[in-house]
Amino acid sequence: MSHSTVPRSGTEAATPAKTPAASADATGARERRGGGRPGLRPRLRRDRVLILMTLPAVTLLLVFNYLPILGNVVAFQDYDPYVSDNGIVSILHSPFVGLENFRRIFEDPDFWGAVRNTLVLFLLQLVLFFPVPILLALLINSVVRPRVRAVAQAVLYLPHFFSWVLVIAVFQQMFGGAGMLSQLLRQHGYDGLDIMTDPHTFPFLVTAQSVWKDAGWGIIVFLAALASVPQDLYEAAAMDGAGRRRRMWHVTLPALRPVIALLLVLRVGDALTVGFEQILLQRDAVGPDAGEILDTFVWWNGVRNQDFGYAAAAGLIKGVVSIGLVLTANKVAHLMGEQGVYEK
């Protein structure tokens, strides 16, 4: 869930990097190489400091990532946040209602609307966002002047570091009812246009924002993959009479294929997460019919309506399905012969 913003930075570039698998391999190898392991006590004495060093991070994760899992019991309750002034105490005082919340969710057209919007956005981003960094990377890679490359990269990376609040504010100034586009249209005798509040084009708007913000950043991975193609391959292909286009087809694209496949699979694994903050900020502008996704559905019902049990149930459904998706995606990645996030 993206409400913890920090870990999200850099996930795009992260993907090929998510290779604890590789490290696990290395670990195994070194251990094996090391031969007989010393006993537990001496190892503890030796590694005590190392373990202590991991404690702060591990504690934070246990408290803020693991412990709340237990809180999902409210999904099975008619949770009353006002029974006490402490969330945990309120859990103890709220009645259990079994699967009632889930039954209601499945009958709730708003929930299914949120599912539909989530999937539509996911597909749209897949089709319209995903290819952009690849194309940009190919373009930049073909630029030979280092200064031009550096400047172009600096410019294109920049929006990645902007907050969603800022990105949406920028879009509002460009495409909103009082924005640049409307202003120009009006000055030239046309009526203004408000793209920011049009529910019909909302999925495209959201995708365009994602492209503006993150497509530039996404090229890092592909540039790296492109850079790792040995130059002799190109040379050999050229010697064999392959032209620009054929070299692209036979050398460059195959080199990118594994990265593309991996990113694609991982994206599918993350299909139900389509930009919580971005959409929450714009939900009201287009109305929930177009602007409600699963994550905002949870927010609305829980934070806004104080219907925590119901919201938690929806969140739990999303969470469970997401785990299934991500595990499946990794499985597929393995079958395709790529490094997944984890190793069996």
């Binding site: 850099g10 992260a14 998510k18 991070a57 969330g87 907050s163 949870v298 919201a311 969470g319 997401s322």
Partner: protein, 311 residues
């Protein structure tokens, strides 16, 4: 992992094209022009809106009225919007809050992450696989918004700045990148230090950290940008409007079109342009990021990819 920027250059003149390999054919004029056009358009798509934001923030009420709103061509520059915003009050306070939370949060996150990454960087150390599992598993699940909210609330973090730092302090991804980089440091070097009697903390501080400047710069930037950009936790956990960071104030002032505390009357009566004030807030939010990130840019590739891919 080297080539992107370090492709054979060798020619003097930073804007000049380096030598083209003998086997590569000369590109067509049309192709070059097309490439240049697309690339320029892409860069323009990023820079044009920013230009307008900056120019409008520096324009007077009169210029803005003449332009009918946003200003493309600057006509005289005034810093009045900034003077009003930075003269104490809501936006000044929000900027200070954002800066302090970003500094404190980044320092905390970096300390925790570097320690953890180093602690996990020696393969075969006791419990290291288990701890790694604890870290990795978090990449697969999320406890969910509601339970996390209830927990933070139960811990009494509501309305404290800790709620903006602690729940999102650790990025497992960042730790893995750091760890990957640390593991790439020559073991011989570390072993000799150890033989000299150096403890792990000293090795980390005196050898590992200096050798990892690039990756540390990158990860610091990631954390800092994360804290600087965050608004959701503040909207969720802070009740006191006076504690709100800059992003949340930006939501109020730009997205919800409210007037800054204390400046409402000046804007309602037209003494101050509401639009210029909005733009100035946006500039304040983007400026630190736009200024700092290009400096770190040269490390992105090196820090990120080497760090990550090694592992």
């Amino acid at each position: 992992m080297t080539a992107v920027v370090d492709r054979p250059t060798g020619r003097p003149g930073r804007w000049a094209a380096p030598a083209r390999p003998a086997w590569e054919e000369e590109p067509s004029k049309a192709g070059l022009a097309g490439k240049a056009l697309v690339l320029s358009l892409a860069c323009l798509a990023v820079l044009f809106p920013l230009w307008i934001v900056v120019v409008t923030s520096l324009s007077s009420r009169r210029t803005i009225d003449e332009a009918g709103g946003l200003v493309i061509v600057p006509r005289g520059i005034t810093f009045i919007a900034y003077q009003e915003l930075l003269g104490g009050g809501q936006v000044t306070r929000a900027a200070v809050v954002s800066i302090l939370v970003t500094l404190a949060g980044t320092l905390f996150s970096m300390t925790v992450s570097v320690l953890c990454a180093y602690g996990l960087s020696r393969t075969g150390s006791l419990g290291h696989r288990w701890i790694l599992m604890v870290l990795l598993a978090t990449m697969f699940f999320s406890a969910g918004l509601i339970p996390t909210y209830l927990l933070v609330q139960s811990l009494g973090l509501t309305d404290t700045y800790l709620a903006l730092i602690l729940p999102s302090a650790v990025s497992v991804f960042n730790i893995l990148v750091l760890r990957g980089f640390f593991m790439g440091i020559s073991q011989e070097l570390l072993d000799s230090a150890r033989i000299d009697g150096a403890g792990d903390l000293r090795i980390l501080w005196q050898i590992v950290v200096p050798l990892s400047r690039a990756v540390l710069a990158v990860i610091t930037l990631f954390y800092a940008v994360g804290y600087w950009s965050a608004w959701f936790n503040a909207s969720l956990y802070l009740n006191d409007q006076d504690k709100m960071p800059l992003q949340n104030v930006m939501i109020q002032l730009v997205q919800r079109q409210q007037q800054p505390v204390g400046l409402g009357q000046a804007i309602r009566t037209g003494q101050l342009s509401g639009l210029a004030v909005q733009m100035a807030v946006m500039v304040m939010a983007l400026l630190p990021v736009a200024v700092l990130s290009p400096f770190v840019q040269k490390h992105f590739k090196k820090g990120m990819l080497t760090g990550a891919v090694k592992g």
